[in-house]
């Protein structure tokens, strides 16, 4: 059958599959399904922040003179910029009482104003008592306070000017680091979408097998066209999902401007081209991995068999992602080039390259290369399907490797 006729037949099958999927009630669950983890994630972030606020560790009571406590507090203030996410241990000044031991014991057991430890002895003989260890955060930080307070006590104030800052838009080091982050983000997004969506094609032929439609299809159009149609129908379905999720994500991005996606560096090829490549490489990745899955899934005759196949298939996807991730940061390195050449990891490697390198021609080469492999994989998958499921063609020794499940034999062989 000629190519235009194959494409026409594939379109007929794709149109049927697409409308059957998108117009079904279960498609709504498909659309909102990925939003559940997001909602749960946001929920946990909120709860986490709440927990974080309420779980700040109690302060250390400092039994010291006003002068010593003032130095310790000043030392803590100087050290505070070094601590970003984890707050430094707070100090509470307590005036000394005659019976130090009794005061120490009372402070440690006071439930109305709880403290984690008691520091006494001033800067000369500092002594920390409490539920702390020498390598724990509280003891280490108190040790730093004491050292800094002592240094501040003996040094004169510096005569030099404070640090003078001249901000620039960017530097090569910062840009490389930031683009690396963008590359990883792009790669991860591509991977997550592919792993989430490409698995769907595993079960694509189950409906036809169980309803016996496969015989009608195979009598009217080539198996290549059936596979191509099914693959593109699922790609179109996935793109509908992605458009929906992107719309939801756009509002979230707006919420997350500070430190969120807006903080990503501009990719080397620019944002418009990068987003175009993201869509293109998602499609290529979907078609490549989907064609492989379709070929594997076509051998299954029941949903149970598809489930059994899902685990190794997911592991395979993880390996591909890992392979492509090794090259991020060194786009001209051997791992990055190898990942770009290996067809199944090529889209992941190339989206990272789009973030890191401005040249556009490698993308043209990559897309042609990937498209060739989609055609090749589909051809092989269709041939295996014809031989192993339809039991067509002349016998081959290797066909036993692809021998299908007993149920399918009963289904297809008259």
């Amino acid at each position: 059958m000629k190519l235009p006729e194959t494409i026409r037949a594939a379109f007929v099958i794709a149109r049927r599959d697409f409308s059957a999927t998108v117009l079904s009630k279960t498609f709504l669950f498909f659309l909102i399904g990925p939003l559940f983890p997001l909602a749960i994630g946001f929920g946990f972030v909120g709860i986490g922040a709440q927990v974080d606020r309420s779980s700040k560790p109690p302060p250390v009571a400092v039994i010291a003179s006003d002068q010593d406590f003032g130095r310790l507090a000043a030392a803590r203030e100087r050290l505070e910029p070094l601590s970003d996410a984890v707050p430094l241990v707070e100090l509470r000044h307590v005036a000394a009482e005659p019976d130090l031991a009794a005061q120490r014991s009372r402070l440690l057991s006071d439930n109305s104003r709880p403290v984690i430890a008691v520091l006494d002895g001033g800067l000369t003989f500092p002594h920390l008592t409490g539920a702390v260890t020498s390598k724990g955060r509280t003891a280490r930080q108190i040790g730093l306070y004491v050292d800094e307070a002592r240094r501040m006590a003996v040094e004169r104030p510096s005569l030099g000017s404070p640090l003078y800052l001249t901000p620039t838009a960017s530097t090569s080091g910062l840009e490389a680091f930031a683009r690396n982050l963008t590359a990883r983000f792009g790669q991860t997004l591509l991977f997550v979408l592919t792993i989430m969506l490409a698995g769907m094609v595993l079960s694509q032929l189950i409906e036809e097998k169980s309803s016996k439609v496969i015989e009608v299809l195979a009598a009217a159009v080539p198996v290549n066209a059936i596979f191509l149609g099914k693959l593109f129908a699922m790609l179109a379905t996935s793109l509908v999902g992605i458009a929906f999720w992107a719309a939801i994500a756009a509002s979230l991005i707006d919420l997350l401007k500070e430190g969120g996606l807006a903080a990503l560096a501009t990719p080397a090829v620019g944002w418009p081209a990068f987003l175009g490549f993201a869509l293109l490489y998602f499609s290529m990745s979907y078609l490549l991995i989907g064609a492989t899955f379709l070929g594997i899934g076509a051998q299954a005759s029941t949903a149970r068999e598809v489930q059994i196949l899902s685990m190794p298939v997911t592991m395979g996807q993880l390996l591909l992602f890992g392979f492509a991730a090794v090259g991020v940061g060194e786009p001209m390195g051997a791992p990055a080039i190898a990942a770009a050449i290996f067809p199944l990891s090529s889209p992941f490697a190339m989206i990272a390259r789009a973030a890191e390198q401005p040249a556009l021609w490698p993308h043209l080469v990559a897309v042609v290369w990937q498209a060739l492999w989609v055609a090749l994989i589909l051809k092989v998958a269709a041939a295996v399907f014809r031989r192993s499921v339809l039991k067509s063609g002349r016998s081959r020794g290797w066909k036993r490797f692809f021998r299908r499940a007993e149920g399918v034999e009963q289904l297809m062989v008259p």
Binding site: R8, R16, L217, A218, A219, L390, S395, L411, V413
Partner: protein
């Protein structure tokens, strides 16, 4: 066959499944505009032959051509096929399912929808149009699939066991549909294990038994393989007239049955009269396709098709 063009042809088709030969050197020729029946018991290889002819599966050896093409899928637009295992998408509305089957064969969807409604209307089933396939009975779904088989107005229709699962009324409707298609110049090939359908519809038959085509030709030619049967009742129980009967003559319920001798009816009649048989009744019957099938395919094949009672049943 005369000058008629060939619609479908198979030469020495062979198919092996995992080392087991399912079809063994089948050759057949289907003239354009004919109704050809492929007869044989279940498992004889009829469906495998049809699937090879249609290009669903490739033969292990041999060749086939459909409407003059070696690659059957190249003429898929001109072929309609009703598989033995009926297959429709359960959630699809009926008219859409018919239009989809047409679209697979190159009919534009819009035109397919129009024709689907018309076909349903002509068949008196307009009310099925919007019903999902899953709500139809098995017989109704079969009718829908049959309409999907002819929606694109094919030149050749291949029906695999089309009468299976239909009640008597729908079988009659299907027979009429096949006749109408043939009258319109469409070539029809159908497989069946019910000889009566083939006898009523076909001008040509192919008998397949154990993967081999044991007969291919006109129905009359198949019948012609057997000599006419003489049914004779005489007043005289014995006498010289008995010498006129062939050795294979059997007495069944007071009636003699035997093949008409090659010399024809006149010498037989003369010998009976001269021998004093006292002829009460004498009839000469042309054998039916059923008798021809038994003679050609053998009693075992006929028994598998349920046409000859086995010894136990007869007893």
């Amino acid at each position: 066959m005369g000058e008629r063009a060939i619609a479908a042809e198979a030469r020495d088709l062979t198919k092996d499944f995992d080392g087991k030969r399912a079809v063994d050197g089948v050759s057949l020729t289907v003239p354009e505009g004919s109704i050809t029946g492929i007869l044989g018991p279940n498992g004889a290889g009829k469906t495998t032959c049809l699937r090879m002819m249609l290009g669903i599966i490739d033969p292990s050896s041999g060749s086939r051509s459909l409407l003059g093409h070696d690659r059957p899928l190249e003429v898929a637009r001109q072929v309609g096929y009703l598989p033995e295992e009926r297959g429709l998408y359960p959630s699809m509305p009926t008219s859409e399912a018919i239009a989809f089957l047409g679209a697979l064969r190159g009919l534009p969807l819009k035109e397919g929808r129009r024709r689907a409604l018309q076909l349903l209307k002509d068949a008196g089933h307009e009310d099925w149009a919007k019903r999902p396939i899953r709500t139809l009975s098995k017989g109704m779904a079969q009718t829908v699939q049959l309409l999907g088989t002819i929606i694109h107005e094919p030149k050749l229709i291949v029906l695999d066991e089309p009468f299976a699962g239909l009640d008597a009324i729908n079988q009659q409707k299907l027979e009429q549909l096949i006749r109408d298609q043939a009258a319109a110049g469409v070539t029809v090939i159908f497989s069946t294990h019910v000889i009566a359908h083939a006898e009523r519809l076909c001008e040509r038959i192919v008998i397949i038994a154990e993967g081999r085509a044991v007969f291919e030709g006109d129905v009359n030619e198949a019948r012609g393989r057997l000599r006419p049967i003489v049914h004779l009742r005489t007043r005289s129980a014995d006498g010289p007239w008995r010498e006129a009967l062939p050795a294979s003559a059997r007495l069944v319920g007071g009636e003699w049955r035997f093949e008409l001798p090659a010399s024809g009816p006149e010498p037989l009649l003369k010998a009976l009269i001269d021998g004093g048989a006292g002829i009460e009744t004498l009839s000469i019957e042309r054998p039916g396709l059923h008798d021809a099938f038994i003679a050609i395919a053998g009693e075992a094949a006929a028994r598998e098709m349920g046409h000859v009672p086995n010894a136990e049943e007869a007893a």
